[in-house]
Symmetry: C2
Subunit: 554 residues, 2 copies
């Protein structure tokens, strides 16, 4: 049996759980785009490549693997910011790039999309900074091995890979036999080290009087998520989340103590975290935005630091894999009579978030109010900026999940990622509500992402926080500077203009708390599975209290 | 006298003719953005970085130099496709990137916008593939020399440069004295070689019986443009343009013979070009799209090939600079009695472009019809795809100019570039009409560029060729493939929704030839200096005859 190289690639992706491929067509990849459908994959064209990259990222966070196809040169470069974000935040998105034929590459002629200098390796050099593995397929004899090498690295490191595929090689016939051997991550597995780590952790927990768990950024990846609630259940310890960890674990548990973001956090949370004498810190990711600008105050010696490829217990670092060690830890905790006999230590009572009494909608009003709107199973995606911080004041119902891109922090990401997540959710065949909360400044970067919601009938709820500027930037510098203003757009009109022939697209504009309350309580708004947008008018410069506190600006 | 490093940078830009700086604010650059206004420069925020990069490119093509400011990481990566285009097509755009403080860079902490690995050199490595010079300013003592080095390289090579500026260095005080010495391109100037080249060219012309001139891509840059009409006037030879050269030279001259794009060109043009025994080829740029997919048929031995840093006469290549050699050639031709005595050889009569009689608007109808709409002084920007080709059938009035990005060929470029050109034109204080012709598929990539037109009151006329797909891609492969469809948007509604509070924005939708004729003849439409958009409905897959001919598809 033989297959085309392009078929081999898409069949591999299907094996890895990819059902949809995103991208923008370009002439070096057009023939390649005839192949996904033959392999049972859906093609979703995106208005531009950046939106496509973000969508593939959102899809990959949801399904475990994502794919983006662009054309050589301008197409791939336009996607790079999105690929950089996936690299930074450990999201496995394969970037497939349509290259000219190998003969054209060798001809020395000036092809369009080149830099005009006859060189074809500028772009792969660029992408190599943002990929865990790269390949340009120029030889059918080695193409399948190269594909497998890149995809295996991606499985291992959970990061983007780059596969350039020359037009002719895409259509070269190769043996199909390799496809029978499934791809797997290359992970170390040393039972002895694993046993040592588990024993050390248990001993540290036993010696502690105030142990807690913190769920952080690394834990918000598909490979870790299944273990989050199980760790809580087995350890019976109070637990907290960070900005990046929010949405990973079930917050309705009585053991949930709230969100920690350094100095601006509620006092009860700060005290609980800072007095803890043993912290199981899952996916510890001490970035500036995730730590209240490095205002966390915990002793490293008290931390059991769980990373993808290592666990550190105090000063000792062990090379173990998270997906091996977590089940063993859970099992050991369950079998330990000491641990099972321990009465759960409840976290301190949570202080209600301040809710102003004005009829103007502010973020201090909004975020607690959103808690009552959310339903079990919702997925909430928040944007870098005020929504990332404000969302810490929203309580999540059971089985709700959430994510945000707080390390890389590329504004515009959330809208594209929400589209990708919506596609992924729809493909499961179950109705799942995706809730996007973004600021108008961020939205302006990737507003055309909305077009995909309508075109593919994706039931996403979009909240636009409209406060006339790049608000988080105002807090950084230049509160009233003109460069922090954004132009006024009519977001409701835009949302509809992107879908003039699609029925059912809903838009709303609210400015008063009663209008917001009525809308969020409305059963049609709650239940109708159509794309909808709510333009929320907020005061100039309005930000959540956690952010104001962080910047000492009340 | 001392200045801040940031002030030094902006003052240098002002010396180079930059009046406006484009970009998107980000926290590592916010304080830097307080400085342009102090130096008398205008800041124009763009909805995203890609639009900003294209706008800076359009501005630089118009004014000779452009500047873009983005933030470290996501901001700069989002602009890369635009910077790549400027690199490929010789447009000097300086990319200024706001870096974290040098202390932060040395701290090893995970700052947002990094890749999370503590390394700060990924992004400059990436940009070095797309820049003629790069620097990250980490030391005030060398900062001004580094700035001057990058800007001088840009003047010399007419290509992008990259200047990363750490937050603290931007505000460090340095001596202002260096600013008194103007920056100049480093160009060789060997009078002996120049004299030889001029003599060789004159001899070659004298020996020829059918000499002509061709204006091509390289000639469409600010440093060459002033010489285009003068060469024609001095040489008194028939002249032609290529796709990339159209708009460089005055077409109303009786010596103008038409546009050459290889095999699909009008027969009269093909014959004139292919029988010529001496061709002064200014800015020869033999890329695929510019040569009818390499279907040009001229003998290299007959070509005098004028490049930026060299002139080749037959097999002999001389290192001379175009801005030195052109005035000397013009002067020599004027002083040569032989050449001045020659009766102008008129080009063959031009065959009218075919104009269909149907009342449906097609591109074969549209492009000749646009000729009558254009007025002296207009600047027309066409997009990669059908408009780039169709525009060859439009006749330009006197002093009209035009450009397109046919080598790099990044769709979405034209909308951003038109905005940048509109800003540049407005800043001259003279009313200049910018005409953008783009396809709806291209427009979808950068549609938010429109927001800038309204926000800043820029009188740009936008024609959207709406034929339900990526039409040039249909001709390449997959004529009816779904991946070549684009979603239906309401462009008129979008144009207005980007400017809900701006009066005077005009939109029109036309589908019949009579509607188009009425609109193009309407004096208000002609004269009113407001942003306007015309959504032109064309048949599915409609393309100009030149393009259909090239693909053998009628």
């Amino acid at each position: 049996m033989s297959v085309l190289v392009g078929e081999y690639l898409f069949r591999r992706l299907k094996q890895l759980g990819v059902g949809t491929v995103f991208g923008v067509p370009g002439d070096y990849e057009l023939a390649l785009l005839d192949l996904p459908a033959k392999e049972g994959l859906e093609w979703i064209g995106t208005p531009n490549e950046l939106v496509g990259a973000y969508a593939a990222d959102g899809y990959a966070r949801y399904r475990g693997f994502g794919a983006l196809v662009t054309t050589f040169g301008p197409g791939e470069l336009s996607a790079l910011c999105g690929i950089g974000g996936a690299y930074c935040e450990f999201v496995p998105v394969v970037h497939i790039v349509g290259y000219p034929t190998t003969a054209s590459q060798q001809s020395g002629r000036i092809l369009h999309h080149t830099l005009g200098d006859g060189s074809y390796d500028h772009y792969i050099k660029i992408s190599s900074e943002l990929s865990c593995a790269t390949a340009v397929l120029k030889n059918a004899a080695t193409a399948t091995a190269e594909i497998d090498r890149v995809l295996t690295a991606m499985l291992t490191y959970s990061r983007p890979g780059y596969i350039g595929i020359s037009e002719d090689v895409a259509y070269a016939s190769v043996p199909a036999a390799g496809l029978e051997k499934p791809l797997r991550a290359h992970l170390t597995n040393d039972p002895e080290t694993e046993a040592t780590v588990v024993a050390e952790i248990l001993a540290k927990l036993e010696a502690a009087s105030k142990p807690i768990i913190v769920f952080d950024g690394g834990a918000g990846r598909r490979s870790w998520e299944p273990f989050a609630d199980l760790v809580v259940d087995a350890a019976k310890l109070p637990f907290f989340v960070t900005t990046l960890g929010k949405g990973v674990v079930t917050e309705t548990s009585p053991l949930f103590g709230g969100a920690y973001c350094g100095v601006g956090s509620p006092k009860s949370v700060i005290e609980a975290i800072e007095v803890a004498d043993c912290i199981l810190w899952l996916g510890n990711l001490p970035s500036d935005f995730n730590t209240g600008m490095f205002s966390e105050n915990v002793k490293t010696a008290n931390i059991v630091d769980f990373q993808r490829f290592s666990v550190s217990v105090g000063q000792a670092k062990y090379a173990v894999n998270i997906t091996n060690i977590l089940p063993k830890l859970i099992s050991a905790l369950r079998q330990s009579t000491t641990h099972q006999a321990r009465q759960p230590i409840l976290p301190p009572a949570r202080v209600p978030h301040p809710v102003p009494a004005s009829d103007t909608i502010t973020q201090d009003y909004l975020w607690p109010r959103v808690s009552g709107f959310l339903r079990p199973g919702d997925l909430v995606i928040t944007e870098t900026g005020t929504s990332q911080v404000g969302f810490l004041s929203t309580d999540l119902p059971a089985r709700a999940s959430a994510w945000t891109q707080a390390v890389y922090g590329s504004i515009g990401y959330a809208a594209g990622a929400a589209v990708g997540a919506s596609v992924a959710a729809k493909a499961t065949g179950e109705y799942k509500r995706i809730v996007l909360v973004t600021g108008e400044g961020s939205l302006q970067l990737t507003v055309q992402a909305f077009s995909i919601l309508a075109r593919h009938g994706l039931p996403c709820v979009v909240f636009v926080l409209n406060n006339k500027g790049y608000t988080v930037e105002r807090y950084f510098h230049g509160f009233e500077a003109a460069y922090n203003d954004v132009p006024l757009w009519d977001y409701c009109a835009l949302f509809k203009a992107f879908a003039p022939t699609v029925a059912g697209v809903q838009t709303y504009k609210v400015a008063k708390t009663a209008e917001l309350d009525d809308l969020l309580s409305d059963s049609t708004f709650q239940d109708e599975a159509v794309p909808k947008l709510v333009d929320i008018e907020l005061p100039y410069g309005d930000a959540p209290y956690l952010l104001r506190g962080l910047f000492g600006r009340e």
